[in-house]
Amino acid sequence: MKRHTAVPSDAAQLPILTQFLQEFWSAADLPPAETVTFELALEEIFMNVVMHGSPAGRVPRVDVSLALCDGCLTLMIEDDGPSFDPLLLAAPDVTASLEERRVGGLGVYLVRQMMDAVSYRRLGGHNQFSMTKRVREPTP
């Protein structure tokens, strides 16, 4: 099962993308417990593009696709903005004290920890960020 949508790189589009994901979840009858990982990944990576990957004067286009295969769900977020690899962001110190705690880089860190696999590549002037996690046992 595959679904695709495209939106401008604008924070106001986040609820529309979340709804796209939730509709896929219902249509594919996926277990509710796993939805948080994908909702979080969608928000964190999309908002990264909105906040850091959108040059002044031009609004990149963001393509979002979901593909379910053998119980593994892949979320791909692609944009035509400037080259940016979120995996190069420094990981936050998750053992720092309350006063020293930083939130920068935390979103990408959460995504890396909660997904089974993440990858980035720059292809044809596009950033492609792909995330995969097993969401149910493969059908025998």
Partner: protein
């Protein structure tokens, strides 16, 4: 996201309901700032009861972090309670549950945040 407030003795209980994401984080932050400012210098505490919170992202975690820091500086007791599994996972993976007091439910949080009257 809706936010309700309740007073129990000298403790203010903040009850967010729904989704704490990029879209709702700024509004929740200003509500918490008002609660913390209103607490003044009285011996008081703030509990955020998350039993109705379905989702939190890093934008939401940032709000909890700022509120916990502001409480510490103002010498107020600060605790979070009632995390649903989806929210608990984000708190645990981020390490936030190690620096912010997290309790199973409101009764436990109230018992730990000092006198209630």
């Amino acid at each position: 996201m809706n936010v309700r407030l309740e007073s129990i003795g000298l403790t203010t209980v903040v009850i967010p309901q729904g989704r704490l994401d990029f879209g709702s984080a700024a509004g929740f932050q200003s509500q918490l700032e008002q609660v913390l400012a209103g607490a003044g210098s009285k011996p008081a505490g703030v509990i955020i009861d998350c039993a109705g919170l379905d989702y939190v992202s890093s934008a939401g975690l940032r709000v909890f972090l700022l509120a916990a820091r502001a409480s510490q500086r103002a010498d107020l007791a600060f605790a979070i309670c009632g995390l649903k599994p989806a929210v608990r996972e984000v708190f645990d993976v981020s390490g936030f549950s190690r620096v912010i007091a997290v309790f199973v439910d409101r009764a436990n949080a109230l018992a730990q945040t000092g006198p209630t009257a």
